[in-house]
Amino acid sequence: MKLLGKDISAARLMQEIQGRLAERGLGGAEEDSDRPEGVESRVDPLAFNLEAMAEHSDPTRALPIETHRGGVGGRAVVLAKRAFRATCQMFINEALGRQQVFNGHVRDSYAQLSAEVKRLGARVAELEATKKPRVIKPAARAPAVKKGRAKKKK
C-alpha cells in the first residue's frame, strides 16, 4: 500500500503502520496497487447504436426483470412479472409480431445508413489527406498614389 499526500511523511507513516500491524501479528500491507487506472475507451456511436438496436429489435423478448421496490413488495412484483412472462408469452408474441418485423427493417436501414456515413467519412478523410496545401500568394502591391489634388471628373 502506498500513501500519497504533500502534508504527511508518507514513508514514515507507512513504516509506523507496518510496525503496528507486525505488533498485532498481522501481515504487512505491501500489496500492489489495486487502483483502476486510465481513462475509459471511446465508444463508437454508430457501432454502439447498431448493436443496441440489434439487441432490442425483438420487442417480444423480456428485459432483465427488476424492480425499484424493496422488501416483500419487491419480491411480489418480481414474481408477478415472471408469472406474466411464463403464462402470456404466446400472446405477447402475437401482439408484437408486426412490431418485430418493423424493428428489423429499422435496424437494417440504420445499418446501411451508418455504413454509408462511415464510408463517406473515410472518403472525406482520404481527400483531405491528399489535398495540396493552399499557397497564399502575396497581395499585389497597390499602385502608388500620387500626392496632390485629384482631378475632377467632368
Binding site: M1, K2, L3, L4, G5, K6, D7, I8, L13, E16, I17, Q18, R20, L21, R24, L26, A29, E31, D32, S33, D34, R35, P36, V39, E40, S41, R42, V43, D44, P45, F48, N49, A52, E55, L63, P64, E66, H68, R69, G70, G71, G73, G74
Partner: protein
C-alpha cells in the same frame, strides 16, 4: 450572446444541478446572462429551471449541455440551431453495473459523448479525468473548468443537528450504490472497532431501502454495530456531520470529481481517499490518498490521523490550500478562457465632458408605486436627470406580491426619464412562496436552495437581465435599488464594477444568504442609507465593496396646513400618524395592540392614524383610524399636524417616513428593535422608542414640546438633494475616469 444551460433532469441535491447553478453564477460574473433548462424538472422548481421544451436559443446564443449518463437531450442538442457546448461530468464505467439495465445506459452515454464531438464547438471537463475522456472521445476544443465549493457554506455556524457519539467518528458522503463500495467502509469499520471499540461509522447519502444489496449492507452493519445510515440530509445537517466527524473516508472506485472530498476539506475534516479515477487530481496532494484497500492498515491510518494532533493540523492546513485553489475565482478564470471572454465592461464610454449616461435598475417603477425603495429610486432618477441621461430598466409590475404585468411592455417617458419595461414571468403564488420561505429562511442552505428562493421572490424578467448584459457598454453606470430582488441579485454581477448599489439592507433572514454576496462584493460602491446599514453590511460581508452613506433628500412642500388633515378626516385632539404599506412584516398589528392598551389606560390618549394601501385587517376601534391610500398633500399636511410620526417596522434601512416627519418638525415614535430607527431617534434627539406595551406608553408620554420640533428640523437639514446628487455624480465620474 446569452449562455443557456441544459440538463437531462434537475432535482434538489443532485451534483449536476448544483454545478449548473454554480456555473450560472460564474457566467453572470463574466457578463453573460442565460437560463437553466432541464428535460425533467419538478413543477415547484420551474421558477429556477425551465422545462427543456421551452428552450429557444437565438442563433448566436451558446447552449452548454451537462452530460453524464445517456439522455435524449444529447441528441436533441445536436439539432439546436445555435452555438453548442458540452460540460462533461463523467460516466461511471459500465463494468460496475454489468447485467443490469444501467449497464446499457452508461455505455450509451459514452457513445453519445463521442457523437457530440463533431457537433459542439466547446467541451468542458470538470476534472482532469473528464478532460482526458473528452479527448479520448474525439473532442477537440477541450477545457478544464473545475467545480468549486463555496467555503463559507461549510463554516461551523452553518451546522444544524448532531451525530451520535463516537471516538473516532468516520464519515463518508455518497449515495449507496455499487461503485461507491460501502461494503469496504464496513470492512474498515470492522478493523477499526478492534482498535477503537467506541468508533462510529456514519454514511450520509440516499439509498434504496429494501433493495437486496442495501439489505445485505444493513445486516452486516447491524452485526458490527455503531453504523448509521443517515440517508439524505439537509445542508445544515451535512455541515454538522462534516464538522463533528473526526475523519472522512472515501472507498469509491470511481469519481468524476468527488465534490464531498472538497466539502469535507472546506469543513476542516481530514480526508482519506482511495485514489480511483479523478480522486488524486481532486485531492491535489492534500489529505491522504491510498492505492490499496488493506483494511487493517487503513484502520491504523485512521487512528494515526485522528490522534496525532500535529499531523492532523498539517493535513487540514494543506486541505485549506487545496480548497482555495478550487475556488469560485479559479473556476471563473478557467471558464473565461474556455468561452473566450476577453473583455471587461469598458469604462468611460464617452468623452468625459459629455453628459453621463446612467441606467437605473429597479423591480417596479412609477409615480403611483408605493414602496420606500421604489419611490427612493424615482426621486434619485429625477434628481440625476438634471445633469445626466437617465434610463430606468424595470418590469411591467405594480404589485410587489404577484409581479403581475399590469403595465405595458416597452419604452415610455416619465418626464425627463426614459423608462424601459420588461415582462416578468408567471405571477408569484404567495401561498407557495410563503411555504418555501418558512422552510428555508430558518436554516442554513446550499446555493441551489437560496437561488430557488430568489427566483421565487422575483420578479423574474429574463429579458431585463438580457438587456442589462447587452447594454453594459451603453451606459457609464448602472444604479441598482434593493438587494433583495432578482433583478439586483442577478443583474449586479453582469456589470460588476459599473454597478452602484443602493442596497436598502436590513437584518432579515434572506440577508444572511451567501447567494447575495455578489451584490455586496462586486459593485463599484454601495450607496448606504444610514450608518447602521453600512455597519450591518460590513459585519455580514467582510469582503464587501467600498461603501458610503448617501441617504436621500427630503423637500417638503412650502405651503403646509397643519390643521387641514385633522379637519378633513374629522380627527379631534392630537394624533399619531403612520404612512406606508399595511401588510405583514411592518409591525402594524403589534402597534395597534400597544395603542389599544394606551387608550384603555388614558382617557386623553391620542388617536392612531394608519394611512396607506394594503390588505391587512387591522380592525380599527376607539382612537384607531385606518385610512386607505392618501394623497401627497394629505400626507404632508397630516405629518405636519401630527403629534408624532409612528414607525413600527423592525426592518428599515432608512425610513422615508421618519425623515419626512423630521422635515416638517414632527418627532418620531419608533420601534426600538430597528437599529436604523433607533439611530435616527438617538442622533436627532427628536423622538422616543418603544420595545414593549409598557415602553410604548412611556414613549408616547415623552413626546411634545418645541424643543423636539427644533431638533427634528435641524436633523432633517442634513438630508438635502444636492448632497445626494453630488455623491452619485462623484461615483459615476470615478467609473468614467477609470481605465
Amino acid at each position: 450572446m446569452e449562455v443557456h444551460q441544459l440538463l437531462a433532469n434537475f432535482t434538489l441535491g443532485d451534483a449536476m444541478g448544483q454545478a449548473a447553478v454554480g456555473f450560472q453564477a460564474l457566467l453572470r460574473r463574466l457578463g453573460l446572462s442565460g437560463q437553466l433548462y432541464a428535460g425533467e424538472v419538478a413543477s415547484d422548481l420551474r421558477s429556477l429551471v425551465k422545462p427543456a421544451s421551452q428552450l429557444r436559443p437565438a442563433r448566436g446564443d451558446l447552449v452548454l449541455y451537462h452530460h453524464g449518463i445517456a439522455s435524449e437531450w444529447a441528441g436533441r442538442l445536436m439539432h439546436l440551431d445555435c452555438r453548442r457546448g458540452v460540460v462533461f461530468h463523467n460516466i461511471t464505467p459500465a463494468r460496475f453495473y454489468a447485467g443490469t439495465r444501467l449497464e446499457e445506459a452508461l455505455n450509451s452515454g459514452r457513445a453519445q459523448l463521442a457523437a457530440l464531438a463533431d457537433s459542439v464547438e466547446l467541451s468542458i471537463g470538470v476534472s482532469d479525468l473528464n478532460v482526458a475522456e473528452l479527448r479520448e472521445a474525439g473532442h477537440r476544443n477541450v477545457h478544464l473548468v473545475p467545480l468549486f465549493v463555496e467555503e463559507a457554506r461549510f463554516d461551523a455556524d452553518q451546522a444544524a443537528g448532531g451525530l451520535e457519539a463516537g471516538a473516532p467518528i468516520v464519515l463518508s458522503v455518497s449515495r449507496v450504490v455499487a461503485h461507491k463500495r460501502v461494503e469496504d467502509l464496513l470492512s474498515l469499520h470492522a478493523e477499526l472497532l478492534r482498535l477503537r471499540p467506541a468508533s462510529r461509522l456514519v454514511v450520509v447519502g440516499g439509498y434504496a431501502e429494501g433493495q437486496q444489496a442495501f439489505v445485505r449492507l444493513q445486516a452486516r452493519a447491524a452485526a458490527l454495530g455503531r453504523v448509521d445510515f443517515l440517508g439524505k440530509v439537509s445542508h445544515g445537517e451535512l455541515v454538522a456531520a462534516y464538522r463533528q466527524a473526526d475523519v472522512y473516508v472515501s472507498m469509491s472506485e470511481h469519481e468524476g470529481f468527488g465534490v464531498p472530498l472538497i466539502e469535507a476539506m472546506a469543513a476542516d475534516l481530514p480526508v482519506l481517499a482511495f485514489g480511483a479515477a479523478a480522486v488524486p487530481w481532486t485531492m491535489g496532494g492534500a489529505g491522504v490518498v491510498f492505492d490499496t484497500k488493506h483494511f487493517a492498515a487503513l484502520a491504523e491510518l485512521v487512528v494515526a490521523v485522528t490522534e496525532d494532533d500535529a499531523m492532523r493540523r498539517k493535513i487540514i492546513e494543506g486541505q485549506q490550500r487545496r480548497v482555495a485553489a478550487l475556488s469560485a475565482q479559479a473556476s471563473e478564470a478557467a471558464l473565461k478562457v474556455a468561452l473566450g471572454v476577453h473583455r471587461e465592461p469598458s469604462r468611460g464610454i464617452g468623452r468625459r465632458d459629455t453628459r453621463p449616461s446612467v441606467a437605473i435598475v429597479v423591480q417596479r417603477f412609477g409615480e403611483e408605486i408605493t414602496g420606500g425603495a421604489e419611490s427612493h429610486a424615482r426621486q434619485v432618477a429625477l434628481q440625476l436627470a438634471a445633469e445626466m441621461d437617465v434610463t430606468v430598466l424595470t418590469t411591467c409590475a405594480t404589485d410587489h406580491l404577484t409581479w403581475a404585468n399590469t403595465l405595458v411592455e416597452g419604452a415610455e417617458r416619465d418626464g425627463p426619464l426614459r423608462v424601459q419595461r420588461f415582462r416578468s414571468e408567471a405571477p408569484r403564488q404567495m401561498r407557495a412562496f410563503n411555504r418555501l420561505s418558512d422552510d428555508v429562511l430558518s436554516r442554513p442552505n446550499d446555493r441551489v436552495t437560496e437561488e430557488h428562493w430568489i427566483a421565487e421572490q422575483g420578479p423574474r424578467a429574463p429579458s431585463l437581465l438580457r438587456a442589462i448584459a447587452e447594454s453594459r457598454e451603453a451606459y457609464d453606470a448602472f444604479i441598482f435599488f434593493t438587494y433583495l430582488y432578482a433583478p439586483t441579485a442577478w443583474g449586479v454581477p453582469l456589470v460588476g464594477a459599473k454597478a452602484l448599489v443602493v442596497p436598502t439592507a436590513h437584518d432579515e433572514p434572506p440577508f444572511r444568504f451567501e447567494a447575495f454576496s455578489d451584490v455586496f462584493e462586486r459593485p463599484q460602491v454601495l450607496m448606504c442609507n444610514t450608518l447602521e446599514e453600512q455597519q450591518l453590511i460590513q459585519q455580514r460581508f467582510p469582503n464587501a465593496a467600498r461603501s458610503r452613506i448617501v441617504g436621500v433628500g427630503i423637500e417638503p412642500p412650502e405651503a403646509l396646513d397643519r390643521n387641514a388633515f385633522a379637519k378633513k378626516h374629522g380627527l379631534r385632539g392630537p394624533y399619531l400618524m403612520y404612512v406606508g404599506r399595511q401588510e405583514t412584516g411592518k409591525g402594524l398589528k403589534e402597534l395597534v395592540e400597544h395603542h389599544r392598551g394606551l387608550v384603555n389606560a388614558f382617557h386623553d390618549a391620542p388617536t392612531l392614524v394608519l394611512a396607506g394601501g394594503g390588505a391587512l385587517d387591522l380592525g380599527g376601534g376607539e382612537r384607531v383610524r385606518v385610512l386607505g391610500r392618501i394623497s401627497e398633500e394629505d400626507k404632508w399636511n397630516g405629518l405636519a399636524g401630527a403629534m408624532a410620526a409612528v414607525a413600527p417596522s423592525r426592518f428599515e434601512s432608512l425610513s422615508l417616513l421618519a425623515l419626512e416627519a423630521f422635515a416638517v418638525g414632527t418627532p418620531l415614535l419608533a420601534n426600538a428593535d430597528s437599529s436604523v430607527l433607533a439611530g435616527h431617534v438617538a442622533r436627532s434627539g427628536a423622538g422616543a422608542t418603544w420595545h414593549s406595551s409598557e415602553s410604548y406608553v412611556e414613549a408616547v408620554r415623552a413626546l411634545g414640546g418645541a424643543q423636539l420640533r427644533d431638533q427634528a428640523l435641524k436633523y432633517a437639514g442634513a438630508f438635502r438633494w444636492p448632497k445626494v446628487v453630488a455623491a452619485f455624480r462623484e461615483e459615476i465620474q470615478r467609473i468614467r475616469k477609470a481605465k
